[in-house]
Symmetry: C2
Subunit: 358 residues, 2 copies
């Protein structure tokens, strides 16, 4: 009897020792702006969840909910801030109505390339500014995957001059829309599900989406012939949002695990999107040989650049933090672009020259 | 007394329950080709070790040993194969004497850019071929960080024609050296520590190293004026090697942790090198304004391209696996390059045009 008691006590102490392990089990929810099947945008959260489950031996579970479930694609920041979700996956520039400085962490017209921007994030002041800007929302912001340079969009007619932009009806959101509006473009906002029909029927003359990999799913290549190269979203970075209180409560090992998995999943998205775009473009070109890849003529690019600079100057005049980040970003880009030209541009130019003289 | 015995038994059972935890403690060693202070090349192993320690709560320790310790920079593959080290960090093309097909996992002359190559690795057949080629060594090979497009090298005299290459004494190893030799270059191999003096004294006329970030540490900018853009190593990927038996014995969670940490650390190196190169080039240009960035004239590039194709054809004729990978690689590059031009080249070209008309 006495021995039994002691054994029971021993068993209890064993249970106590074991219990912290199972008590540590963490269950988080992540809300993403996209439908949960929309790769490559939906890939980073899915991969993050899979990696966390495996690396934690099932102790850290992240349930991912796409927009088909939560119905609030543009409510992600609020839901993570409020703690309904511990995490979110979205695009920082969607929050420009809350703070214009969120745009710096996605991409800006005539801005940095992905390599340049990652260098600014991690070895310049990018991450520092990210922390400052997101601090007031009570969330941490992390890079969440990059689409690379997005295409300038699908146009029903060729753009030969700045005059051709006047009165053009185009779906192009964000800062790029503000830039286009300065050149007389009639910027419209149409829900994604209606875009194909609008372009087909001529309700709009042009639209921008992402790039071949995602555009082909929308079918735009069937209804417009001119596919313009990009200038307005040269390095669109997605974002992971993490509720600060939830993150700060995690044991250090899970904080590091989360950051490592976010980084690996983000890199994967950039590569996945690159591969999908290469495949999709090869298919588009074969199935729709009439598609012409165009770059805006130089006077159009000059006008777009000037209009972009005007848009920046407008925000900088009203918002000192915008001016601070703009100056830092511009100086870093100038330095980084020289290296991009030396290492990336001339190599591709050589490849083009060799191809044309075969 | 009896109670004490029981308590002791209970304590023992507690110890037994606790012991599997500490018994799981894993201690690995990693040998790298580089001195352990040589960033960015030495950064991925250092970051991997730090991440593994933190994510495993101190249960998975990787001790990194640089070449200053093991003295066998080109013995990494053998040491990981033999199990003296569970892991290695090196460059796959160093093993071309053991199997020419190892070159495909670093970079090849006129080959893919980093984005293209990562797409081929993860969404094409790259990883599949990696497994096939490394299987016989009893190791797993993983991407281990990328330098981006390396510079074509430092030249004391300008190269104006193919004739200028004849008799030129140049340090340029690997396949690129074979290509240069076909054009009459006197290819020499000189230890790293003697390169600066050799270039300064004219013992050699030219050399290639990496890019501004690493070149500036060697001081080449002080003794040569012409800095040529690259063609021969467009996307040099480092490698992590893992001894198969050691890896296969790991619990699943540690396998996933290791792969995730290797991927995150590899991405970091690409960014770190990009940032270091942008900084170093800005500094070089300021301190040594006479340096001229040059691209080889078109006839020289055409000759280099033809010589590269000849080198490939030579290996393909002798080695069916080389031919198989060459064909797969070439087809993927053709598809991916079109997307690189659309998404990357035209954007940088626009930036150049706008800069020149300011």
């Amino acid at each position: 009897m006495r021995m039994t008691k002691v054994l029971l006590a021993a068993a209890a102490s064993v249970a106590l020792l074991a219990s912290p392990l199972s008590a540590k089990k963490i269950k988080w929810k992540l809300a993403e702006t996209w439908p949960s099947t929309l790769t490559p945008l939906a890939s980073p959260p899915a991969k993050l969840a899979a990696l966390m489950k495996e690396m934690s031996d099932g102790e850290f579970i992240i349930k991912v909910e796409g927009k088909e479930k939560h119905k609030a694609p543009l409510g992600i920041l609020d839901m993570v801030k409020g703690g309904q979700y511990q995490m979110g996956h979205s695009g920082s520039y969607y929050w420009k109505g809350k703070d214009i400085n969120t745009v710096w962490f996605t991409t800006v017209p005539f801005g940095m390339t992905p390599s340049e921007q990652y260098a600014w994030f991690y070895y310049g002041n990018g991450i520092k500014y990210m922390k400052e800007v997101y601090d007031k929302f009570g969330v941490y912001n992390y890079p969440g995957g990059n689409t690379g340079n997005q295409m300038g969009g699908w146009f029903r007619k060729e753009i030969k001059s700045v005059a051709d932009l006047k009165g053009l009806k185009m779906r192009i959101p964000g800062l790029a829309g503000e830039v286009m509006a300065k050149l007389g473009v009639n910027v419209t906002n149409i829900p994604a599900g209606e875009l194909y029909t609008a372009l087909d029927r001529g309700t709009i003359d042009a639209l921008e989406w992402v790039g071949p990999g995602m555009d082909i799913k929308m079918g735009f290549n069937k209804v417009a012939k001119y596919y313009y190269t990009g200038w307005h979203e040269p390095a669109s970075e997605m974002q992971f949002l993490v509720n600060k209180k939830a993150y700060d409560k995690l044991p250090k090992k899970y904080q590091v695990m989360l950051e490592t998995a976010m980084k690996a999943a983000s890199m994967d998205m950039y590569i996945e999107n690159f591969a999908q775009s290469a495949d999709a473009w090869a298919k588009m070109k074969k199935d729709y040989p009439d598609i012409q890849v165009k770059t805006f003529p130089k006077p159009v690019m000059q006008a777009l650049k000037k209009a972009s600079d005007d848009v920046y100057a407008g925000y900088a005049a009203k918002n000192p933090k915008f001016k601070e980040i703009l100056d830092d970003y511009t100086a870093y880009m100038k330095k980084a672009r020289e290296w991009s030209m030396m290492s990336q541009y001339y190599y591709l130019q050589t490849s083009k020259e060799l191809e044309s003289t075969k």
